[in-house]
Amino acid sequence: MPATSERAPPTSGSGIATTLRQPLRPIAWRLAAVVDIVQETPRARTIVLQVPEWAGHRAGQHVDVRLTAEDGYQAQRSYSIASAPEDPHVALTVERLDDGEVSPYLTDELRVEDKLELRGPIGGHFVWDVKVGGPLLLVGGGSGIVPLRAMLRHRAAALKAAEINARRHVPARLLYSSRRWDEVIYRDELARLIEDDPTLEVTLTLTREPTKGWMGLRRRIDRMMLAEVAWPPAERPHVFVCGGTLLVEAVATALIELGHDPQRVKTERFGPTGGAT
């Protein structure tokens, strides 16, 4: 190579490796400690966790949970984070699936002070924070409420009740479908949230055996219901739909038929066993 070369000297391979390795932030498996358990419904409970070196999360993200049997067999599932980034602990709300490999352990066996192997937070698509703005339209079925609850808790924590104008800029509506009244997850919390927030509206619909005295909606979420609850497409709401695959696809299709921008309709399918109503 001539001495006058203007080319930069070659970098050794190991030098590149050092540069590349340094910023890596692998989402590592960690052992979290169960600090509290809250029974939400007969089939669902919230597991409150102390996660070492938790870097914080965004509302809507999930974690992967891994169980290892004594013979080494591993089963892994994804669970939405139920807590807001502002909450002191990471919480998961898990609904029992009778033929599930992982959820019966989490809903029936796991105790306070037990350890749980998980990695996260994961996912950067189905996420919302107040910087994204509003209006915020949340549509959920069954345990599909979980990541939407994280968004509502984040909204309530980030925009204080006293700053009503800030909340008016980011109005929120939740349309939530459950099978029965006693399966409405976070029932009391949702009631509390709307009590001190005129910029939040919650609409519940029950799809089976409505409780005596139930005056609300009694059918699956359909296009007419969405037309009534959702803002007009011209308001350009940010829409998050979460629940069983069939509910999510029916809702997303109806919203797009109503004229909502497909890019603003974000979906999280839990699969057929993940809390479909």
Partner: protein, 93 residues
């Protein structure tokens, strides 16, 4: 019908993709090599089987990305992705 009822979103592949890529790939935009449609990786349709994770285009149903794990290797098949665009802000500082 059965297959449709089992499909998930690209979000569901965020975990395994995080094993392969530093930035979160589900927030990146992928262009389908088959039909040219472009959208978030998190909005692709995911079919997770024992054999691996298949991510299909919501417009044409073509396979965009496929990740398969064997006992000793991870196979990433990006044949169906014409390009993947990642926001510079998502990259490590």
């Amino acid at each position: 019908m059965d297959g449709n009822a089992h499909r998930l979103d690209g979000n569901a592949a965020a975990g395994i993709l995080s094993e392969l890529f530093v930035p979160d790939l589900t927030a990146a935009r992928a262009t389908c090599a088959g039909c040219g449609a472009s959208g978030a990786v998190g909005a692709l349709l995911v079919y997770a089987h024992g054999m691996g994770t298949v991510m299909r285009c919501p417009s044409c149903d073509g396979v965009v990305l496929r990740v398969t794990r064997t006992a000793t290797q991870v196979w990433l098949d990006p044949t169906g992705a014409r390009r993947i665009v990642i926001a510079a802000a998502a990259l490590p500082a």
